[in-house]
């Protein structure tokens, strides 16, 4: 696990429909130490997904720099694992082969990479689904696979783009609890993009509110771990923090 440093990052692109230059991210700086879980919230169009896509290397940035463990980002790479809102599992691979995909690309032999995959599947309580194809699983289970597929490749930074936005509310709470549990066990550096304020507070060590491509405010979340919804739902500090972040996002 490594740190992530973003300095004076900006993204300007030419919008064909508007016929003008649009600035999605401007002069954004963010420091994420190794092993921290940072939630990034903001209204639609605040630039949070653009930010994540630049960190992942899917789209180039037009100014500033992104450093992972001190090395500048140039295009996508296995040092930054990504969990997608649309899951993006490979439909033609079994669950086991999906999770073993990263190690396979690294050249890990079959026996070894399947051992790694089984270990991670057990972590997400997915062992029984190892031989199935993604389309045979529920949305919640598919995203569990998405999370452990990224983790099994042992990335320096884990990037999550509204990963639980397309599952139902009950499943979402379970997935959030499982993610904190896994994070507490593995301590990866995580950037978690969401528009769901309670989710951001529940998961993060820190919540960063974005507005118009800039950091509006950073709020430390000093709630004790392990975190479970049964404890936090009625917790006054959780409610106060959520209320403050919500206010920020709404004013943005």
């Amino acid at each position: 696990m490594k740190s992530l440093t973003i300095r004076n990052l900006s993204k300007t692109y030419f919008d064909v429909h508007a016929g003008a230059n649009v600035t999605a991210v401007r002069d954004l700086s963010l420091e994420v130490p190794a092993g921290e879980f940072v939630s990034i919230v903001g209204p639609s169009g605040c630039g949070k997904t653009t930010l994540l896509n630049m960190i992942a290397g899917f789209i180039p940035h037009t100014g500033g720099e992104i450093l992972v463990g001190g090395h500048p980002v140039k295009g996508p790479g296995p040092d930054r694992g990504v969990v997608f809102q649309s899951f993006a599992l490979f439909p033609w691979r079994t669950v086991l082969d999906n999770v073993a995909f990263g190690p396979k690309m690294r050249g890990v032999g079959r026996a070894e990479r399947e051992k790694i995959a089984h270990e991670y599947l057990a972590l997400a309580k997915l062992s029984a689904a190892a031989g199935r194809y993604p389309n045979e699983l529920s949305g919640g289970m598919q995203q569990r696979v998405g999370v452990v597929r990224a983790l099994a490749n042992d990335p320096d930074v884990l990037l999550m783009d509204e990963p639980f936005a397309s599952v139902d509310a009950q499943t979402r709470m379970t997935l959030q609890e499982e993610l904190t549990r896994i994070w507490e066990q593995k301590r990866p550096t995580v950037i978690f993009i969401t528009h769901d304020v309670p989710e951001a507070v529940f998961l993060g060590n820190r919540v960063v509110a974005l507005s118009k491509g800039r950091v509006l405010e950073e709020i430390a979340v000093d709630l004790p771990r392990p975190r479970v919804w049964d404890d936090l739902n009625e917790d006054d500090r959780f409610k106060a923090l959520s209320g403050r972040v919500l206010q920020l996002v709404r004013s943005a």
Binding site: P76, V82, A88, P91, G102, M105, Y133
Partner: protein
């Protein structure tokens, strides 16, 4: 009456699940019976429309003399060669055009242009260039198979969600591995569709070509029979064409589709 019919129907359903081939043959029974009745009623002179029994007899004698197996083999080998080259050239070309914007810009109009010049439209010039024979037939069938394969491969490659590429890249896949791990399997359901269409068109083009320039093959058999005025053999040829296609489709293409696109949930069953 009704319960009896229902019972018979459920027994039939059980039978066809156990032996699917029975379900294939049964729908043809009324057709054959109707054919048999029409010929037995002498509605047409036998030389004009022979009955099923005569066609079966002619099948027997053509198998016995070795003509039919030889011609059948010739046609199937031509189809196999044509399909092989159609796939070997069509899939890589389709992937290139599907992935590369410049290649798409340069080649797409050309592909559409030549697709419009249907198989048989090439015959006059091919006969002048290559004469009556195997080369002409091979060119025609490759030409016919390749376009549906290329166009559908392009479609398949372009329909792969961008996040699929991104996921693979973020898991460390190199460009070459992306081809095997993402592009090819992602486009496979469309490639299969292209292949199915291509083989279907190719099979028809082959028979047409054999009729015009062939010296052997099922198409030639039928045309030769016309010369001899043998309607029996023409009918036999037609039945063979239909049966063979059914076999290729249900024994080769459909199982591949069941094992890939349908299994992966990319194609509805």
């Amino acid at each position: 009456m009704t319960p009896l019919l229902l019972r018979a129907w459920s027994r039939y359903l059980r039978l066809t699940t156990q032996w699917p081939s029975i379900g294939t043959i049964v729908p043809f029974i009324p057709l054959i019976v109707a054919w048999w009745i029409v010929t037995e009623m002498r509605a047409f002179p036998p030389a004009f429309l022979p009955g099923p029994a005569e066609v079966v007899r002619s099948f027997g004698s053509l198998v016995y003399t070795g003509v039919l197996p030889e011609y059948l083999q010739d046609s199937l080998v031509r189809l196999a060669i044509g399909s092989f080259w159609g796939i070997a050239l069509g899939v890589p070309l389709g992937i290139l055009v599907g992935l590369s914007q410049p290649a798409h810009k340069a080649l797409w109009p050309v592909l559409l242009f030549f697709q419009a010049i249907g198989d048989i439209a090439w015959l006059p010039i091919l006969v002048i260039w290559f004469g009556y024979g195997l080369t002409t037939m091979t060119v025609i069938i490759v030409y016919t198979v390749i376009f549906p394969v290329v166009l559908n491969t392009v479609l398949g490659v372009r329909s792969i969600p961008v996040n699929m590429h991104r996921a693979a890249q973020s898991l460390g896949a190199s460009r070459t591995r992306m081809l095997w791990e993402v592009v090819l399997p992602g486009a496979l359901p469309n490639i299969m569709t292209g292949l199915r269409n291509g083989l279907g068109y190719g099979w028809r083009a082959l028979i047409a070509t054999e009729i015009i320039v062939g010296t052997s093959g099922i198409g030639f058999l039928m045309f030769d029979a016309r010369r001899a005025g043998s309607v029996v053999e023409i009918l036999l040829g037609m039945i063979i064409l239909g049966s063979l296609w059914y076999i290729v489709d249900s024994w080769i293409l459909a199982p591949i589709e069941r094992a890939t696109g349908q299994r992966w949930g990319l194609v509805t069953k």
